[in-house]
Symmetry: C2
Subunit: 117 residues, 2 copies
DNA sequence: AGGTTGGTTAAGCATGTACTTAAGTATTCA
DNA sequence: TGAATACTTAAGTACATGCTTAACCAACCT
């Protein structure tokens, strides 16, 4: 749908870090403030903020500040774009296997060897 | 199943690059040699080799050399591990929405405001 | 044998990533 | 008002990434 060219790059990049995936898993269970997110993580607050910026930059997380506390929550739609790409590949793979199977049963008795039909 | 701790890190990292996703999309349609993979890509052969090393390091791609040509093919199981993580998050999110919906209909007439039930 | 094809290794370079510490700025509470 | 809380900004560092070019090796072909 509304996918800029480098959009998948950023989403997969964001997910390629345990800390960031932990943050996503936490936010899936409900919104949280920055320091709530930081509490279980073994790193400084600024480091957590930088992870949050990565997650916001790719649209996985939104946040708004009220008073002095910033509350973060997920935007689950972006997870879909990543999931969709992977699913598309896997289903393409399975279709290929199906076609390969058809080919093999059709040519069951002719022993000609080609690399890939 | 057999997931080392940093395994998802490597898979998502591998997918976080357009060139590498292009290689995966190509290999989904069937095995290919290194130079077949390199042909449509606007970069040197060594650069392609390095991308292939990343894809092999995370188990997304296997390759074997016969004669002087190395043939690459996908290992679709690893795509599953990435897909599974994302799917798990999305379903957790949907369950949360369901629980939230139940809560709201049950307390439809009591206007007490809590942040997250 | 000698050249071409297909891949590999090594080294170097510019940028990006994942932190750190130190020093801010607003809010809220006592 | 003045201290504690909740972030924010800036700057610096160490290491990883994504390329490049140059040189090299091992089939194959003629």
């Amino acid at each position: 749908m509304l996918n800029q060219p480098g959009s998948l790059d950023r989403v997969f990049q964001a997910l390629a870090d345990t800390t960031r995936r932990d943050i996503v898993e936490r936010l899936i269970r409900g919104p949280a403030s920055v320091s709530e997110l930081a509490r279980p993580l073994a790193m400084s607050l600024p480091a957590v903020m930088q992870h949050l910026q990565v997650l916001e930059a790719c649209g996985l997380v939104r946040s708004e500040k009220t008073g002095r506390v910033r509350t973060c929550h997920i935007e689950p739609g972006v997870l879909r774009t990543a999931e969709d790409w992977i699913t598309a590949q896997r289903t393409a793979w399975e279709h290929r296997l199906d076609r390969l199977g058809e080919y093999l049963t059709e040519h069951r008795d002719s022993p000609d060897q080609r690399s890939t039909p």
